[in-house]
C-alpha cells in the first residue's frame, strides 16, 4: 500500500478523510476489514473493485448511514476538525412522489430562489420537465435529478455510489461534467464505478477494494499504468477477480 502524497498548503479547504482499522461485521460475516486510508487530495477519488468487495458499505460508513463495528474514521477540513457538509448520490435513485422541482426544493437547506432551483435543473437538462412527477422520469433523468439534488445542498464532500451504472451515454456525460465542475469549485468527490474508462476520465486517485479490504491506494496514473497488486492487475485486464 502506497500513501498518497501530502497535501499542499493551498488545498487547505479540501476535506480529508482518514480511517483507522475500520471494520464492519454483520451477523458474523466480516464485510469490511481493517480499512486504514488517508484521502487528502482534491478532485475525485475513485473506488474500484469487483462486486461484493464492500465499496458501497465503505462509503455508507463514511457518510454515516451505517455505523462501523470496529475502528474509527474522521472527516474534516485540514485546518480544523469541524464537521463538513456532505451529500450522497445512490446507485438506485430515490425520488419523492412529487414534481421534479419539488424534489429539488425538498433537499434545499439554503432557501434558494426559484430561479436558482431552475438553474440547477438547467444544469442537468431537466428544466423543461420541472413540473412532471419525478417518478415518471427515465433512469438517466432520475439520476441527473439525484445529482442536482445532492449539489443543491452545497456539499463540500460528495459520495457517489455507481451513479452512472446502466445509464444512457448522454446522462453519463452530463453527470461526469457536473462532477468535474464541482471538483474545480472545491468539492471533494468519492466515486464508486465499475467503468474503468470512467475512472480514467475522472479519477485523481484510486482505492482498490477486494473482499472488504483495501488492496491498493495510489494516484490514478500509477494505478492504471503500473498497478502493484496482482488483483488490481487482473481487474484491469478484465479477468474475474475472486
Amino acid at each position: 500500500m502506497v500513501t498518497p502524497k501530502a497535501p499542499t498548503s493551498n488545498q487547505s479547504e479540501i476535506p480529508c478523510i482518514g480511517t483507522m482499522n475500520l471494520g464492519l461485521t454483520i451477523r458474523g460475516s466480516t464485510l469490511l476489514n481493517d480499512i486504514s486510508i488517508q484521502v487528502t487530495t482534491p478532485g475525485v477519488t475513485m473506488i474500484l473493485g469487483p462486486n461484493g468487495a464492500g465499496k458501497s458499505l465503505l462509503i455508507k460508513c463514511l457518510h454515516g448511514l451505517i455505523a462501523p463495528t470496529r475502528g474509527r474514521f474522521e472527516i474534516g477540513l485540514h485546518q480544523r476538525g469541524k464537521t463538513i457538509p456532505q451529500a450522497m448520490v445512490f446507485q438506485k435513485p430515490v425520488l419523492l412522489r412529487r414534481s421534479v422541482i419539488d424534489n429539488l426544493q425538498f433537499a434545499d437547506r439554503h432557501s434558494h430562489q426559484r430561479e436558482a432551483l431552475e438553474r440547477a435543473l438547467e444544469a442537468v437538462s431537466l428544466l423543461e420537465k420541472k413540473d412532471q412527477p419525478a417518478t415518471q422520469l427515465s433512469g438517466g433523468e432520475q439520476q441527473r435529478l439525484s445529482l442536482a439534488r445532492a449539489l443543491i445542498t452545497k456539499p463540500k464532500l460528495l459520495f457517489l455510489d455507481e451513479p452512472t451504472a446502466s445509464l444512457d451515454p448522454a446522462s453519463v456525460l452530463i453527470i461526469e461534467q457536473l462532477i468535474k465542475q464541482a471538483s474545480q469549485q472545491g468539492v471533494k468527490s468519492v466515486f464508486i464505478s465499475h467503468d474503468i474508462g470512467q475512472a480514467k476520465r475522472l479519477g485523481s486517485d484510486v482505492i482498490f477494494l477486494n473482499r472488504g479490504q483495501v488492496i491498493e491506494h495510489t494516484d490514478a496514473a500509477t494505478f492504471f499504468t503500473n498497478p502493484h497488486s496482482r488483483e488490481a492487475k487482473a481487474y484491469l485486464d478484465g479477468e474475474i477477480v475472486l
Binding site: R97, R98, F106, T135
Partner: protein
C-alpha cells in the same frame, strides 16, 4: 324476486323515502365519525411502528395484524359489557346511542387503518430511510413527508376502513340496539327486515348499501389509477 327488490330500491330512493334517508344518513354519520377517529389514531400508530426500531416491534405488528381480523360480534360484546350501565363506563349512559356504535366501529377499524398504514409506511421508510439520513432530515419533516408521499395509498386505506365500517352489522346491532329513529342504520335495518320476512325491502336496502360500496370502490380505483399514472404507487 330480485327484480321487484331493485324496483323497490329505486322506488324508495325516487320517492325520497324519509325513513330511508334517515337510516342512510345515520349510517354515514356513524361510520365517518368512527373513520375520522380511527384515522386520527391509526395513522400515528402505523407510522410510529414503521419508523421506530424498538424491542418487541415484531410482536406489535403481529398483534396489530391479528386485531385486523377482530370478529365484529366480539367487539360488539366487549363494547356492550364496557358501556352497559352495570359496566365500567355505565355512568356515561352511552349504550344504545349512536356514540356507542361509533365506539364499536372505532375499535373495529382502528387496527385495520393502523395495520395498512404500517405496511405503506414500512415500504416507504425502507425506500427513503438512507436518503433522509443523507439529507439530515429531522423526524417531524420526515413524518410529514411520509404522510404526503403515501397519500394515495393512505386514501385507499381510509376508504377500506370506511367500507368495513359501513357494512358492519354484528357490533352495531349489539351496542346500538337497532332502535328506530335513534340507532337504526343500513345494516341493522336489513337484518330487521330480513327477520320480518320482508325480503324485498331488505334486498332494496341492500341495493342502496351496495351502491354506496360501489361508489367507495370506484373512488379507490380512481385514486389508484391516478397514482399509477404519476408513478406514485
Amino acid at each position: 324476486m330480485p327484480d321487484s327488490a331493485f324496483l323497490e330500491a329505486f322506488g324508495l330512493i325516487a320517492t325520497a323515502n324519509a325513513d330511508l334517508y334517515e337510516i342512510l344518513w345515520l349510517s354515514v354519520q356513524v361510520s365517518i365519525t368512527a373513520l375520522l377517529i380511527s384515522v386520527f389514531l391509526g395513522f400515528p400508530i402505523g407510522t410510529t411502528l414503521a419508523i421506530l426500531d424498538f424491542r418487541g416491534k415484531n410482536l406489535c405488528t403481529t398483534l396489530l395484524n391479528a386485531l385486523m381480523g377482530l370478529p365484529p360480534v366480539v367487539v360488539g360484546l366487549l363494547v356492550y359489557l364496557a358501556l352497559s350501565r352495570s359496566g365500567p363506563f355505565g355512568v356515561l349512559g352511552l349504550l344504545y346511542t349512536p356514540t356507542a356504535m361509533v365506539i364499536a366501529q372505532v375499535v373495529l377499524i382502528t387496527p385495520i387503518i393502523a395495520a395498512l398504514t404500517y405496511q405503506v409506511m414500512d415500504d416507504l421508510h425502507r425506500e427513503y430511510r438512507e436518503l433522509f439520513l443523507s439529507l439530515n432530515i429531522q423526524l417531524p419533516k420526515a413524518i410529514s413527508t411520509y404522510l404526503w408521499d403515501a397519500r394515495y395509498s393512505l386514501i385507499t386505506t381510509v376508504l377500506a376502513g370506511f367500507g368495513r365500517a359501513i357494512s358492519e352489522v354484528g357490533a352495531v346491532m349489539i351496542v346500538g340496539g337497532n332502535i328506530d329513529h335513534l340507532t337504526r342504520v343500513m345494516t341493522t335495518a336489513i337484518a330487521l327486515e330480513t327477520s320480518k320476512g320482508e325480503l324485498a325491502i331488505a334486498l332494496a336496502l341492500g341495493v342502496v348499501l351496495l351502491t354506496l360500496a360501489l361508489i367507495v370502490n370506484g373512488l379507490v380505483t380512481a385514486v389508484r389509477t391516478r397514482a399509477r399514472k404519476y408513478g406514485y404507487t
